[in-house]
Symmetry: D3
Subunit: 309 residues, 6 copies
């Protein structure tokens, strides 16, 4: 049975080592591994198959602290198998495949809808500030550009890993007027910004958003200047564990990202994310439209009730 779980362990390892990054990429790789596991299973019964899946789930859950999209994908797939009245393992493997396909295609649909809805918020000649790199944000801006809107984007460099450079390059590639600043200059320029757009790594049951370190400061600075601040995210970034009291764990990454050869005794602190309070968020632009973050749990109960099971 050991060889069966190889795709799972191999993928989980890559995730752990950050060889696979980005909520979406991690979710896709996980789904692929689960599909392979299902296709190759030799489980003699549903009970055994479900146990295999549960084990794979544990492996993936343990690979990275904050990956609600991946976790929700696993929740959906395993939920479908468990709830099925089917007993035949081959047929159950097909259910895995079906659920996986549906999750991915739903994700694509969400992405398109988000871009379509969000693009309506980009006004002609407006200045948009964004932090880090988020594909939901850049898709939204691409859509707005394709609709013929002219706008300017200010990108923060996003220390320590400079993901802002990727955002800036994508924007320039689209022909968008692009400015580039250090993170701590966001307040200097905020009075000229019309709209802040950021992605999300996770959304909590209280309506708070976990995203790249620095996001909450930009939200505060936008709030101070009465500049609207929107989170652009699929609803499945919602983390159901937060409902039940778990804190989103804030991963601390390698000190070397901040200072290559730090002096002896220096304590380098490198939290990857921070928490933006719902009060600073004008709305979450998601596949359900533009919603208030305060209602996120009820929206999830209506739209994706299975995440609570």
């Amino acid at each position: 049975m050991k060889h069966l779980s190889d795709p799972v362990r191999a993928t989980a390892k890559k995730i752990r080592r950050l060889e696979i990054q980005g909520a979406r990429n991690v979710a896709i790789a996980t789904i692929k591994a689960i599909e392979t596991l299902a296709a190759q299973t030799e489980a003699p019964s549903k009970k055994h198959f479900v146990r295999e899946l549960a084990k794979a789930k544990d492996t993936f859950f343990g690979s990275r602290p904050t990956e609600p999209l991946m976790r929700n994908a696993l929740r959906l797939i395993i939920n479908r198998v468990e709830k099925s009245e089917e007993k035949n393992v081959k047929k159950l493997a097909e259910i895995v495949s079906l659920a996986s396909g549906q999750f991915l295609s739903d994700l694509d649909d969400s992405s398109k809808k988000i871009a379509e809805i969000g693009a309506r918020r980009i006004r002609h000649n407006s200045v948009v500030l964004t932090h880090c790199h988020s594909s939901t944000v850049t898709n939204l801006l691409k859509r707005a550009k394709h609709e013929g809107k002219e706008f300017e984007v200010i990108c923060t460099e996003t220390r320590p890993v400079f993901q802002g450079q990727t955002t800036a390059e994508e924007m320039l590639g689209m022909g968008v007027k692009t400015s580039f600043i250090v993170d701590s200059a966001a307040r200097f320029f905020m009075n000229n910004v019309d709209l802040v757009l950021v992605g999300a790594d996770a959304i909590t049951s209280e309506g708070n958003v976990i995203n790249k370190i620095g996001t909450s400061t930009i939200a505060l600075v936008a709030h101070e200047a009465r500049t609207p601040f929107y989170v652009v995210s699929e609803l499945l970034k919602f983390d159901p564990a937060t409902v039940y009291g778990d804190y989103e764990k804030i991963e601390e990454r390698s000190p070397g990202e901040i200072w290559k050869n730090p002096p002896k005794n220096l304590i380098v602190r490198n939290p990857a994310f921070d928490v933006t309070r719902r009060d600073f968020i004008h709305g979450i632009i998601c596949e359900e439209g533009i919603i208030s973050p305060h209602s996120i749990t009820e929206v999830m109960h209506r739209k994706y009730p299975w995440v609570f099971e």
Copy 2:
């Protein structure tokens, strides 16, 4: 007469090219150059001598946009010469030398007093956050350490030029427990900070403080968490031009500091400083004690009335 102004032009050039940096270093180099000018002058009359000094003043004022300490030094020295009833150029040169000496020794006295006063604000086991590198701040912390106080310092790296590394190294050298973070993580740690201390590049007549980019954001973040925020600075960083309506000009430095080889068409914005509103500043720790920034202009009128002349 040309060779006389050589020390002035040479020094001004070094200041312009950032070969001499730091408000204090710039002021000292300027004073030295003026002293040399005075020692070597061949001016036939007071009138000519005053004209030479005025020309030197213009050269230095033009070398860098925000250097109130240097400018105030020049103001004092020239003011003394102009007000003197002495006609003899040699005697006037001595007055230059005397005024220069007094300015420098006053500056030393201020520095000592500030460290002494400010150190009283460091409580045992407190956590101090500082941004960038400021010698008035590090002197204050040295004094507190020498007085036997135990405390912890959190240094922001201070993009784009990483002056926070210098601060961290000095702190470690003193045996102080030191943490190091990216600038945009300041809010993440702020709830555990007891005191924020920063330096100043200039103080305006309204009571606002111009300091390294990012300072105003840290002030806002400290304010949000009810953490006291103090500026540690000699009063002579006060810029009298702001009284008369001039904005402190915010220097924009080289894009290369932020992104070595930026993509084509990218607009890199690199403001060196920002403005922290008086409302976010608990007090200015200066040679006159701990004062409210709102009263700065009146303090200057009482203590250094000549800056207004």
Copy 3:
């Protein structure tokens, strides 16, 4: 077929020319026109009839930028026809009539419930401030008065069209102690106000409220003084287009409303509405009770799911 649409075009014209005004009046006139259209239709089939209705809908939607009540009425009526399994056009016309009747009677019920619920919030001897004229607000106050409560009303004049005069006259007519002030004096009196009540032109998916220009400033001023601020509105003022990213368009009216004969070159800006953020709104008093504006979209999904279709 041309003559059939005459009632539609005639009514739409009146709406466009502001001959019919007020969300409620506009909705009623529109429903009447649609009923007439249905009664007179010569459409040979359901398909043709639905096309006629769709055309009428387009005409009405185009007549004024912000009229969610009217739009929701049209949505309901057409939705009923489209969903019906009936093929017979006469029978479908009856469905139009039925749906129209139900919409109007529901609106009346809502209005009564709102007055009943809201009147409970008027305490004896309290001072209520209101802006502009809103029949839902004045109904609520009438109800409170009929219940024997004594209270005082402060009306803002509401430039540029002075709708506050209508409110004041209605209040005086009911025997209520009434004060009258210019709009910019609201803050002067706010510390003596116990409750602010305003109507709504539209409610967005984020929970914000669009109402007469000046409303958002009064909300801010009430917030500053810890004075409760309530919006009194039927839920059907909710605009489902905002869910999908559309901004409520803020109509700019004629310059002549502000300055009859303005000097040459003057740019008169006359926005009719502004947006009050949900954070300033203590609650929306609606037919479902007193709700938090943050939950508006979920309330609509529960109560009027058809607006999202």
Copy 4:
């Protein structure tokens, strides 16, 4: 028939005289009395029985102004009887007994879930401040302690009746490090607090929380210092009357609680509760998880729809 209602009147009297106190105790006593009433009823028909129950309900509703938990218990039990198709009074009495039992067991389940969920929010070595005495809060802390977490609790004394002493004694009994302060010292210590936890007497449809006098000030003080403030409460503290516009009445208790022998003419004001606005509440820790107070009405519609009937 008179003797039948004796348990009801006796219990209601004890509630009125504060011989039975605490939302939970009041609800339990009420349920017991209703069960006794049902067991002893001699009502000849369902109609008469329902009338008896309604009368009992009125008696209990009139015994204390703010007791939503007790009221919701009565609502549930009577609703079950009314909705039942059963006509036989004995059988209906069994339904009362069943509904009562379920309510109490649900309450126990809620309490356990709340403790379990909330305990996850207590971090090692954190400082928790609490006001008054709340058994949901102390249960939560007990659970955290049993899970092996070390933490410190600061109790306010809670004038005028010093319920904070009970909390302090319970905490010390569990071996928790406990500090004790006067109510007005909460701000003095707030910068060192990691988390504020309080109970609730009632929750309104707007998402506000009614709790012991002083709670709203602590919430404001926590907000000022960016300290998270959570309400720990069963959802059934929700008061459906607030949906329909009723203000929660704030009970004023005996002057003697504040000043035993006050001087003549002194007006002693002794409100027992105050209202904490939803904006100051990070989340409500309830049996449904940690939710935003803004969504409370929708959560109730989903989870306990019968409270609205």
Copy 5:
């Protein structure tokens, strides 16, 4: 002696009837009347002359509640006479003339300095919002325009007397791009405003500013959007009576200004001014430079100590 005081009584009457308006005009007319009084005096001794002046002072002080500029002019002139060692009435009349002349010429100097200082704050292409009509503000803008700066001005109409129309006409006359809005639209446009400039009717010892009704709301709205708000005023608008606890009395003008023929029983409230707290004021642009309002009393003690006598 009666005829002597005629110019005083005549001028005071015009001031009372608002035939003379504007702080500056009122002060000038008062000074002229005092000069005439002095020129025509038949007082037999200094004592009598001083009594005449004191009587005139009382008459003028009683003519309008808030006119610190006029009052300070009277204070200066009478103070000079009283302090003089001169006994001869003719000579004392010359002192009146001298002091008057100096006051007026100082006022002119102040006005020029304010325009010069303030114009430095107008940046190229900036948008300035102003409320009501203030000649110190329009002088400042004229100066900026003459210096070749391009900028845009937004004028509020300023109900009830529409002084904003005068401002708009002056701006258009200078060739400045000018927008015109109702007062309650200021918040709608604030996010695009770079600078707010208003005048002052009086400045209090606490640093607050009394100005046309609506000013304090605009200050609040500017504060909310992080838009700098400056008061442009001569220091002699400082009202020394406020030092000694007097409230600036807020004049209520005729109801007819707001509603020509109001309905019976309507209470029209027409306060002419409101109070803007020092916390909303970035600086006072005055003849002493740009100062913090918090230091106003100390500035007065240094610059015009005689106002306190």
Copy 6:
């Protein structure tokens, strides 16, 4: 020489044991002791006499941590002796007596002026809230009452020592309508309060005020409701040590004041004072008028320069 210092040691002991309380009483007792010391001195020379005084000063400074009024009295008296050119000890003793007398008479004058100035701020029918007991506040209210003003006073009980009872009794004695509340009910009533008045134990160089525990919370609550908050205090409560960086030490009093017989292991924290930030203080009502707290240091330099020596 020992017996000479007896009055000093005896008085200092009483101060230490709280047998003498209240800033004013402590200052008076100290002055009396110093006068006795001077009257009885046998010091053979000025040098010896100054040494005696210095020793007495040390004894008094050590008797209680926060007593700036007493300390400033000692500063004045000793300063006068030191500065005098007199050598004769008897004559110097007379100087002590003179300075003492002047200090006390100045204090009386200040008290009268404060009452006179502050009473002007009490409007007819206004509601004043006060915390703890302050004789400067009650004097002010007495004056207002004597001037015929009707007003209402709300007194907080002021745990742990219930000084609010003294205030209430004084108010009732004057025939003022008086309400009495627990400290944590201040926010409940704040929306109906027109003015908050409190005393001061010390004023710092930053403009902050140290006063009875709970004051800063009331200031915050007043700020939240836009209710003016004034400190009523003699300027000599200014503590010059704070200029030089010293924190005002916050005395912690006996646990028994809070809980007579606390359970074992309980940590009772009983800070006597807290710090109210200048931003919450509308003005300090002092003998110099109503001033902004931000300018306090400059006011002291102008009015009482000797406190800095």
